[in-house]
Symmetry: C2
Subunit: 635 residues, 2 copies
C-alpha cells in the first residue's frame, strides 16, 4: 500500500502511513498530541487542524463552519490522508492545575483508632543459618522454614518476582532478611499468607501502601504509612485519558473503536499514577518498590480501563459491567509503578454507573454508620450518582447529567482551572455582572460552579425566565441575539484573556437545565421508589471535587439540590479516595465496603417509567412544582 | 561517549556502540549470531572472528595461535572495539537435527489406566440467562453464580486475563460458554478452583496440556490430550541457549557476567519452546491458547533460567539453589506461548545438581515402584546424575563429568548429529579402523557414543594402554606424534567432509578418562555410602538421550558402566519428560514426585573425602582394581 508522509507543524514531526489513515492516528504515530475530548467521534470539534498542503478526505465536518473548511480546517479524527500532506496543529488547550497537592491539601486525620494488626500487610525479620556443604537447603526453603518456626507462617507462598530477588537479598543482608507478607485478603480471609518481598537486613522502620482514586477527570493517590496508619502525602493530577475523551462514554467508544485503544487508555491512566508515584516517592525519598499494597477506588468504567478489561458492555443496553468486584492482583500485571508483587485491591462497585467510588464514598461519608438519620449521598462529577438510605437500607441510582457542569457542551465552558469564572453576581436593577476568577488572571471561560452561580443569578434577576430562556426585551447591552439564539454577556472582550466576549447562550442554558433536571429527577425517583418524599431527608452529604466549590444557595435556586436548610448540606471532598484509605487500613472497613455493595439496591433509571415525567417536571427553574422549593423567591 | 560503528561481514550488519564494547555484544546488537559455547569466558575459542579494519584491544587470545592473531583473528568475547571496525564472522557451526520428532519418536503408551478425574484440569459448560434491565448482574458474577449452582464451584477465582476475554466470549457464545478450570494444584490441594479461560459455546471436544523437559542441550515438549490421557505429538529442538554456553556452568557464568544475560537466556529457552509449540499447534491445527497447563521437568539450572531466577548460587560453594520447588505460576509470567493464564508446574528437584529431571526420572523409571530390586538409575548428559535405591530408600549424587561425552573438549568431537562417527571398530591385527556415521554423509567428527566405542576398541586392540596413552610403537601409520602428543587417525582426510584427518589425541583420551572416572567414582561412592558394593546392584536404568546410543559392552570395557550382565541394563530414553507427563495426567504421580524428592538423600561429592580416591582409582582402563571388571579381557 502506498505510503503517505504526513508532516505536522509547528512540531515538525512526521509519520509515514497508508493512504486512508486518519490524521488523528498519524498524529499519534508521529508523537503529536491532539486533544479528542469526544474520543474521536467527530462531535466536539476540538481536534480541528489546518491542512496546509496535500490531499485529504473529510468524512465529517460537523462542528466546522463552511468558512473553516474553506480555510483548510478539518477534524483530525474524521479526515483521512490521501497523499503526502502537511498539517498545522493549533496550540492545544493546556490543562492547568487546580488540584489538591500535598502542600495545599488538608491533613487527613485517622478516621478511627489504628493498629497495624487491623490490616494484613506485615513485616517479619528472620535470621538464618547460612548454607553449608552439610546443609544445602535451598534459599527459599531456608526462609520458609524459619518463617514457619518463628511466626507460624507454615503456608506462606512466594511468586517468581520475589524468588528472583531472594538470593541477593539473603547474601546482602548476611542471612538476616525482612520478609514482607500479606497475611490475607478478602478473597482468602484464612490465608495462605503471601510473600511479597524479601529485603536485606532488618527493615522494620517503614511499611508503605497507597490509596488511589481513579476519577474520570482527576486521579488521586495517598501515601499511607501502615505503621501509624496515617496519610503522609497526597498527590493529584488530571487523568491522562482526558485527551481521548472527556466523559466515560467517549472513553468507552475510544477504547472499542480504535485498534489498541483499550491498551492505550490503560497505559495512559497507569502512566498518570506512575508520574504521581514518582513525585511522591521522590518527595519522601523512598523507593517505589517499598510500596506493597494499593487499594483502588473509581467508577466502573475507570476500573475496567485501569485493568484492561473491555468496558463496551457498560455503554450498551442493558448496561452491565464485566465485573463489579475485581479479583486481587499484583501490580506488575498492569504495570503500576510500585513493588511488582504488591497486592492491588480494587473496591467493589454495584453497577455500570454506581461504581466503587460510590460504595467507598458511602463508607467514608458515614451515612450508614451508627447515626440513623435518613441521608442523601450525592457525588456529582461527569455523572451524577446518588444514594439514599440510612444504617439499615440503601438505594442508589445514576443519572447521566452530561458534562455540562464540567464546562463541556457550553460555548464558553471550561474546567475549574486558572482563568475560570467560578462565581457570578448579576445586579437585579442594571443586569450588570460581577464575577470572581480562579487565579489572578483575566477570565477565559466559565467552570461548573460559575455556571450554577450565573444561572441562579440570571434567574433571580429576571435575565432568564423559568424555562431558562434569555429575556431579549431587557434594557441592557448584555442581552442580545447571537449565533445560537439569545445570549447574555458575562464578560466583555476588553476584560477577557482572548479579547472576545464570554457569553452564555440559550443552547448552553438548555444543556444546563437538562443536567440539573436529570440530577433532581434522580433524587425524586430514589425517594419515591421507597415511598418517601425528599422533604423527609435529614441531611445531604456531597462528595466529589465538584461539590466542594458549589454554592448551595444558588444550587437550590436553580433546583439542582433539594430545598433544605443550608446546614443540612455537608461537603466531604473526595469521599472515594478516603473510602479506599479506610479499606486499606482496616479489614473491617474493607468488609464494610463489600457489605454496602451487597445491601445497596440499584435503581436503573432507564428501566423506570417515571423518570421522564420527573425529568420533564424538573426542566423549569427551580421546578414545575414550586411547592418543592418554598425558599426560592420566584415572584 | 564516542560511538564506534562495527560492521559485520558477510551479513553486512552494523551496530553503533561505545568504545570498549566487546565484539560479542556488538554482534548481538547487530543481530549477528556468534556461538559462545563457553559462555563468553574466552576459553573455548569458538567465537573467533577476523578483524578486517579498525582498532580493537584483545583482552585475551587464549586458544589462538600467534599466526591466527597475526592474521587478524581475535575472540569476539575477549576483544573490545576502540573505533570504527569491520569484522568478518566465519560460518558458524550449524546445529543439525538428530532429535526425536513426532514422526520418528516411538508412540508413548499410557503408563497406567487414565481417567480425566485423576488430574485437576476440567471443562464445564454453562448456559446463562442474558442480562436485562431487570437483572443487571455483571458478567463475571453471572458466570460464577451458574458455576456454583451447577457444579458446586462456589469458590472459583478468575484472573485479569480471563476477565479481559469474558464479555466477548459470553456474547459470541450467545450466553453458553465453556469454562476451563483448574480445580486444585499441589500448593492448594483443597482449591479454590481457578478459572483459566472462558470459551464461547460448548467446547468439550478437546482439553490440551503439555509436558516439557528442559535439557541443557535438548528441549522436548509433548502435547497431551487430557480427555484420553494420551501423548499426541512429540517435538524436540536444541536449547537456544547453546550458543551462550555448552554446559550449565558456562550458562550460569553468562547469566551473571553479562548485563541482561539472565533475561537473554530466559528468552532463548522460552523462544525454543515457543517455536516447538508453534510447530506442534500447526501440525494439530489447534490454537496455542487452548493449551491450559504445562508440567515442566529439567535440571535445577535450567529451571532457574527458565523462570528468570539468578542461578549464580548453584555454581558457588556451597552450591545451593534459590528454590528446589518452584511455586505454580501462570504462563504469561514467563512469556510461554500457551494460554496466558495456563498453570505452569515445575517439578521439584532436591539439589543444585540433582534436579527435577532426576526426581521425574526416578518416578518414570519405575525404580521405586512395587519391584524391590536394588536399582541404579543413571542419567548421563553434560553432567552425570545417579540414584541408588529401591522402593524404601534412595540416595543420589551428581558428578561433573564435563561435556567430553557430548563431543566438547575433544579435538574432533561433535554432537550426535549428521556426520558424526557413532561407532568404531579397530582391527586387533592391523589397527585399521572402520566406522559408522550418522546420516548418509562423510564423517565430520566423533560424537559421544563414537568416542566410547573408539576408546574401548583402541584399548582392546592395544592401541592405547591402561592409562589411555597411544602406543606410538605400533606398526601402523594411524598412530603418530601430533601437535597434542600421541594421536590415532580414525578417518583419513580423503574420507572426511573437511579433507582433514579425524584423530583422537592423548589429551582427548585424558579428558574422556576423567569423565568416565568421575561417573564410575560416583557409582562407587553411592554404594559405599550405604555400606554396599556395586555387585549387589540388580539392574541399571539409563535415562537421557545419551544413554539411548551407548554400546553397553564397550562402556563396560572402558569402565564407564559397572561390569554386569547386559540384560541388567535398560535404556529408558527421556525419563525426564516422561516423568513430567506422568505428573501431568495424575495427581497421585505428582505427589509421588514430591515424595521421591523428600525421601531422596543427596550426597555432596565435593564434601566427601573418599571421592578423589575413587576418582583416581578409576583413572585406568577399565579400572585400577581389575577385579571389578571380571568380564573385561585385559590380557
Amino acid at each position: 500500500m502506498a505510503n503517505c508522509q504526513v508532516r505536522f507543524l509547528p512540531a515538525d514531526r512526521e509519520a509515514s502511513v497508508a493512504a486512508g489513515t486518519l490524521l488523528s492516528d498519524a498524529a499519534q504515530q508521529a508523537g503529536v498530541d491532539i486533544n479528542m475530548p469526544c474520543g474521536g467521534q467527530g462531535r466536539c470539534g476540538r481536534c480541528a487542524v489546518i491542512v496546509e498542503e496535500g490531499p485529504v478526505r473529510r468524512h465529517s465536518t460537523e462542528r466546522l463552519s463552511p468558512e473553516d473548511v474553506a480555510a483548510g480546517y478539518c477534524l483530525a479524527c474524521q479526515t483521512a490522508v490521501e497523499g503526502h500532506v502537511v498539517v498545522t496543529v493549533p496550540p492545544q488547550e493546556k490543562i492547568e492545575r487546580r488540584l489538591d497537592t500535598s502542600k495545599r491539601a488538608a491533613k487527613v486525620t485517622l478516621p478511627f483508632p489504628y493498629s497495624m494488626r487491623d490490616q494484613p500487610l506485615r513485616k517479619f525479620v528472620v535470621t538464618l543459618d547460612p548454607p553449608s556443604l552439610e546443609d544445602q537447603t535451598d534459599d527459599w526453603s531456608r526462609v520458609h522454614r524459619e518463617l514457619a518456626r518463628r511466626y507460624d507462617l507454615d503456608e506462606v507462598t512466594a511468586s517468581l518476582p520475589v524468588l528472583r530477588r531472594l538470593a541477593t537479598a539473603l547474601r546482602q543482608g548476611d542471612w538476616t532478611v525482612t520478609a514482607v507478607v500479606e497475611l490475607d485478603n478478602w478473597q482468602r480471609p484464612q490465608g495462605p499468607p503471601r510473600l511479597i518481598d524479601v529485603l536485606p537486613g532488618e527493615r522494620l522502620e517503614s511499611l508503605w501502601a497507597i490509596a488511589m482514586d481513579i476519577g474520570t477527570t482527576s486521579n488521586v493517590v495517598w501515601l499511607v504509612d501502615l505503621i501509624s496508619g496515617e496519610v503522609m502525602v497526597q498527590k493529584a493530577d488530571y487523568n491522562g485519558q482526558i485527551a481521548r475523551g472527556e466523559d466515560v462514554i467517549s472513553r468507552i467508544i475510544y477504547a472499542s473503536k480504535n485498534e489498541n485503544g483499550l491498551e492505550e487508555l490503560q497505559q495512559l491512566v497507569v502512566n498518570t499514577f506512575n508520574g504521581l508515584l514518582q513525585e511522591l516517592t521522590e518527595e519522601r525519598n523512598i523507593d517505589a518498590d517499598e510500596i506493597y499494597k494499593a487499594v483502588v477506588s473509581g467508577n466502573s468504567t475507570m476500573l475496567h480501563l485501569f485493568t484492561g478489561i473491555p468496558p463496551e458492555t457498560i455503554r450498551l443496553m442493558p448496561f452491565v459491567t464485566v465485573v463489579n468486584q475485581l479479583p486481587p492482583f499484583e501490580a506488575r500485571e498492569i504495570g503500576l509503578g510500585i513493588n511488582p508483587a504488591a497486592a492491588v485491591d480494587c473496591l467493589p462497585g454495584i453497577a455500570s454507573y454506581v461504581g466503587a467510588d460510590i460504595t467507598a464514598g458511602v463508607i467514608s461519608s458515614g451515612m450508614c454508620g451508627e447515626d440513623e438519620a435518613l441521608t442523601l449521598f450525592v457525588d456529582v462529577g461527569t455523572n451524577g450518582e446518588m444514594v439514599l438510605g440510612d444504617c439499615s437500607w440503601l438505594i442508589a441510582c445514576a443519572c447521566s447529567a452530561g458534562p455540562a457542569f464540567e464546562g463541556a457542551g457550553v460555548v464558553d465552558g471550561m474546567r475549574a482551572t486558572a482563568g475560570a469564572i467560578e462565581e457570578v453576581w448579576v445586579d437585579q436593577e442594571t443586569y450588570e455582572a460581577r464575577y470572581r476568577v480562579i487565579g489572578d488572571e483575566k477570565p477565559r471561560g466559565l467552570c461548573g460552579s460559575g455556571l450554577i452561580s450565573l444561572m441562579a443569578e440570571m434567574f433571580v434577576a429576571g435575565v432568564i425566565d423559568k424555562s431558562g430562556n434569555v429575556n431579549l426585551e431587557l434594557d441592557t447591552d448584555r442581552v442580545r441575539e447571537g449565533e445560537h439564539g439569545g445570549e447574555y454577556v458575562v464578560a466583555w472582550g476588553d476584560e477577557t484573556e482572548s479579547g472576545k466576549d464570554i457569553v452564555i447562550t440559550d443552547v448552553d442554558l438548555d444543556n444546563l437545565m437538562r443536567a440539573k433536571a436529570a440530577i433532581y429527577a434522580g433524587f425524586s425517583i430514589l425517594a419515591r421508589s421507597v415511598g418517601l418524599t425528599l422533604d423527609v431527608v435529614e441531611r445531604v452529604l456531597i462528595g466529589g471535587a465538584f461539590g466542594q466549590y458549589i454554592n448551595v444557595e444558588k444550587a437550590i435556586q436553580i433546583g439542582l439540590l433539594p430545598d433544605m436548610p443550608y446546614d443540612s448540606f455537608h461537603f466531604l471532598g473526595n469521599t472515594s479516595v478516603r473510602g479506599a484509605y479506610m479499606a486499606l487500613i482496616s479489614r473491617e472497613q474493607r468488609e464494610r465496603v463489600a457489605e454496602v455493595g451487597e445491601m445497596m439496591t440499584y435503581l436503573e433509571l432507564s428501566a423506570d417509567n417515571t423518570f421522564f415525567d420527573e425529568f420533564n417536571a424538573a426542566l423549569f427553574l427551580p421546578h414545575t412544582d414550586a411547592d418543592k422549593f418554598p425558599s426560592v423567591d420566584v415572584s
